[in-house]
Symmetry: C2
Subunit: 591 residues, 2 copies
């Protein structure tokens, strides 16, 4: 079992740790110290070694900061965590609504005479540090040792997860070819890579340093001569054999700073993710700032990666069908959310191919479904009651692909409002699934299609419509997304989620999510647009017909849904048996 259900937050531990940190502030002559959730690799998950924000404050969300000043300590959390933070931190900490209130805007009036606030420069990107400095006019942002590490006596060691090769049959391109391809175009003598999934993609390796994302921690220098210097603990690579080859030179992570200082010529780095410590260690070279050159090629999955992803989705779809069929066989009221999560993970594990879950399963019954990033614990665990909606957002990490799917199902008979709003969400999800669009558009240009039916009823959802997804990599992958902030044009091979929703606070939550891949749309007779794209659907799992108000669908929407269900049946029926097969056939009947 990957997922756990214990409460990790212990509010009462916060105050003595804050006191100890303030002792360090005094010792260093600092007025404050900023503790981010992030590690040096700016990912969504951190290793226990890097979980400083949770250790200090008790807050366990996936993003945020603590700004500890001498007499006040703010915990900055975004809209997802406004309720959670209050339960997790002691009263010595003040929750702050971020990004509505910026760190600098909060700090500045508290230090009217100026002062110095410390940061660990490995945990802030170049852009973040610059943004803070611009807005902290008159207050020094001092680079210093990590003061939390100094007081954290039993801090876990840095992760030492095994690294393994991703077979070239699944990666679709030898890592030597990827290196050579990028080396020809990145436009400098050296390119610094600090994002673990960029390095994993480039070298066709996977790792196990952090939960949920199969990547190893490390840094890399990509050289114009098509060689790579990889800074990674050799012990992690023991099982890798000669996969890396002669073009990849391995060095110990401790040598990274001196290697940076020794760089000459032109050096490229990505200010959005590169630690400011790296930037400031480059003392004898000419620096160019540009996007990590792995991001776009990694996002554009090749034929082998798409083939693997399709296979993973069939396997995962069959597991989901077994789970949903099981769920429908239980008496309403007999299950709790933890039962749901446990059984679903069991269905995935039974495939014998599950490497990890893609993220903590969200299983929210009734009002818990309205908490967008809900993770059930023993404290919040709730029976799945008759007449309620159950929202289940989950995914699997398989060696051939990463899945992410949300289904919202009726437990017994549910109300008319829920059905009408489920249908509106479905209309948005279908609008994107059916779309053909001219090449060159980005997420912002199409996001409205997923929302217009909800807007018509005065409804909306407070999250993006879709995120990029990796090929056995991060389930949240940039740079393209379907959202008002999505400005990266779609390109064939990009995998995205399509997940509109609606949340009635205190009552219920609805989300319907398929993964989709951008593909060329074959020209139609009479077509005038030179090149069009569309979305291939990757996810094959029934959508609960009991929640659909057929009269609210247009003929085209109904046709899409019936065709989708016919294809689910065709693809998944061969993979399930007995009662599950019977359930599937009924679930896939036309409207």
């Amino acid at each position: 079992m990957f997922q756990t259900f214990h409460e990790t937050a212990r509010p009462e531990q916060g105050p003595p740790r804050l006191k100890a940190l303030r002792g360090e502030l005094a010792r260093e002559g600092l007025d404050g110290f900023i503790v981010p959730r992030a590690d040096a690799h700016q990912g969504e998950y951190v290793a226990p070694h890097d979980d400083r924000l949770a250790w200090l404050t008790g807050f366990t969300g996936s993003a945020g900061y603590c700004v500890a000043l001498r007499d006040v300590a703010g915990v900055f959390v975004d809209g997802r965590y406004r309720v959670q933070v209050k339960a997790q931190v002691a009263s010595d900490y003040t929750p702050v609504d971020w990004p509505e209130t910026g760190l600098a805007e909060w700090i500045a009036p508290k230090l009217p005479g100026g002062g110095a606030v410390g940061i660990d420069p490995w945990l802030f990107s170049v852009d973040q540090a610059r943004g803070l400095e611009e807005r902290l006019a008159g207050i020094e942002l001092r680079r210093c040792e990590n003061l939390v590490d100094r007081i954290w006596e039993d801090q876990p060691a840095p992760p030492m997860g095994a690294v393994f090769a991703q077979p070239v049959e699944l990666a679709g391109e030898a890592h030597g070819d990827k290196i050579a391809r990028l080396a020809r175009t990145f436009g400098a003598d050296t390119c610094i890579l600090t994002l673990p999934d960029s390095i994993a993609w480039l070298l066709n390796i996977r790792g196990s340093d952090i939960p949920r994302n199969p990547v190893p921690h490390g840094f890399a220098l990509l050289h114009a001569d098509a060689t790579v210097t990889l800074f990674m603990d050799a012990r992690k690579l023991e099982g890798l054999g000669d996969h890396l080859g002669a073009a990849v030179i391995l060095r110990d992570p401790s040598e990274f700073p001196q290697a940076l200082a020794a760089l000459r010529g032109t050096v490229r780095l990505d200010p959005a993710s590169c630690p400011v410590a790296v930037r400031e260690t480059l003392i004898a070279c000419e620096v160019t700032e540009a996007q990590d050159p792995c991001l776009i090629p990694k996002a554009r999955k090749n034929a082998a990666e798409l083939e693997g992803t399709r296979a993973a989705h069939l396997r995962d779809g069959a597991a989901m069908v077994r789970f949903l069929a099981w769920l429908d066989r239980q008496a309403p009221g007999s299950l709790t959310e933890i039962d749901v999560v446990t059984t679903l993970e069991g269905c995935r594990a039974a495939t014998n191919a599950l490497r990890d879950i893609s993220f903590e399963t969200i299983a929210g019954a009734g009002p818990n479904g309205a908490i967008v990033h809900y993770r059930v614990t023993e404290g919040t665990n709730r029976p799945v009651r008759e007449g309620e909606l159950l929202l289940v957002d989950s995914g699997g990490q398989y060696v051939d692909g990463t899945t992410d799917i949300t289904r919202t199902v009726a437990v017994g008979e549910v109300g008319g409002e829920e059905c009408a709003n489920f249908t509106r969400v479905l209309k948005g999800m279908i609008a994107l699934s059916r779309l053909r669009f001219p090449a060159g558009l980005a997420g912002r240009d199409i996001d409205v299609l997923a929302r217009a039916a909800l807007w018509e009823a005065g409804l909306d959802y407070g999250h993006g419509t879709g995120h990029g997804v990796g090929a056995y990599l991060s389930v949240h992958e940039g740079p393209a997304r379907i959202a008002r902030t999505g400005t990266v044009p779609f390109e064939p091979g990009m995998i995205l989620s399509n997940e509109p929703g609606f949340y009635r606070e205190g009552a219920y939550g609805i989300r319907i999510e398929n993964l989709i891949a951008v593909e060329e749309a074959p020209p139609l007779a009479g077509q005038v647009v030179p090149r069009m794209l569309r979305f291939e659907t990757l996810t094959w799992v029934p959508i609960d017909r009991r929640l659909i108000v057929t009269a609210l669908l247009t003929a085209a929407e109904r046709d899409w849904l019936d065709a989708y269900h016919a294809e689910v049946l065709e693809r998944i029926a061969p993979l399930v048996e007995g009662d599950d097969a019977t359930w599937l056939e009924a679930a896939c009947a036309p409207l």
Copy 2:
């Protein structure tokens, strides 16, 4: 009659004028000179005095440049004018696809050893001059006298059109109050205004210096003490009486440069429209660059402006209905495009309220309908044949409002493809008309709704979906628009066009256009979005039911169209009589 039909272009005049211009180049030691279409006020229409590009080259489009070098002369035109330019300029001129090829990118390789290219700095905005200089590295962009004016012997005098007051009942706010309101917030000692419609809006005046746009040429300085210095020829203001009042000081335009040079303190200007000559004359003050502060308040029409616009649309709608009814009574094949334009203008003139047409009426029959900015001349005039579509895009300038409407009508029986594509265009137009959306969105966020039905068939249109429209001001008004380039959030009171289309080159054109105004959407029961906006429809004229394939419409679309037609009938029937009333009733019948 406002519109004329003669060919203004005379290609054979171009070469001797180009030769004379090159004589001036030699005299000035210049390698080239750039002649823009624009005047010092960067508007869409220019006075005959400023029509230098057409005089020099023969090209009469509403945007473009001539770059005359010593041995080659490029005429830069955008996608609207690629065909037209070839017919209008002699072979001494080389048409260049702009903006695909930039001016600097075209010039630079032709002057590999560097050199100097001249511009009249009154005809280039700060941003334009900067953009050119950045990309012309190594070539000087020399400010100089206008060399075209020097060789244009019979150049018309600058316009001297009468200025008149816009009644405060229609403007909705006294100009003294507008001045005081802006003076409190523009954030400098002086703000430079160079856009005629900004000055006209601010001072509640209208003018007649250029065709189609009821604005006077002039410059203004808005001072923080709520006074205005207006640089405008006093002869134009003779009929204005004491409208301007003591807070507006009138000075001769010839004194503008010395007034600029004398400015002290902080000065605000808009680099997107302010001539670079103005910027470079500011020698003793601190300059802030920001958007013209009139743009947003002018775009957000107040209650009186909206009321006037509604009245203008009823009057104009009745004129359009009389025109469409007349058109339907004519035998197919008996009319030409010029007949159509002449009769339509006559219907508007018969209201006794028409001050001008809003722009040259576009009346394109059959394949001419596919030329998006077609203006019929005696040379292109074409019979309106049976079995063809006729596209008519037109508008009127009334003292209470500006209209802009497109209707595409069937002449006799037309083909199935035309009807299917007309219906797809209509679906897009209805999608925007029906939309409710959260406050804060801009044109880019909703443009897709007007196109998705066309994309489904591989079709699209190569222009924006909607532009801002003034209140008895320019029919093309910024800054909001419905287009992929639209990033200005919609605000209540903004008037926009909603005009999707489809053009099959060489065959037919379709466009359907209503004007719409942004308004607050009253909250619905159960609404969760804090504040929503929607569009009020302003245009009330039947949409040709004979071209609609009802089966392609959803029930909601059909309901919208039937309700629209019912409202057209209710509003316009009292304004028309006899055969026209009978025609209207049939045209407004439910589908």
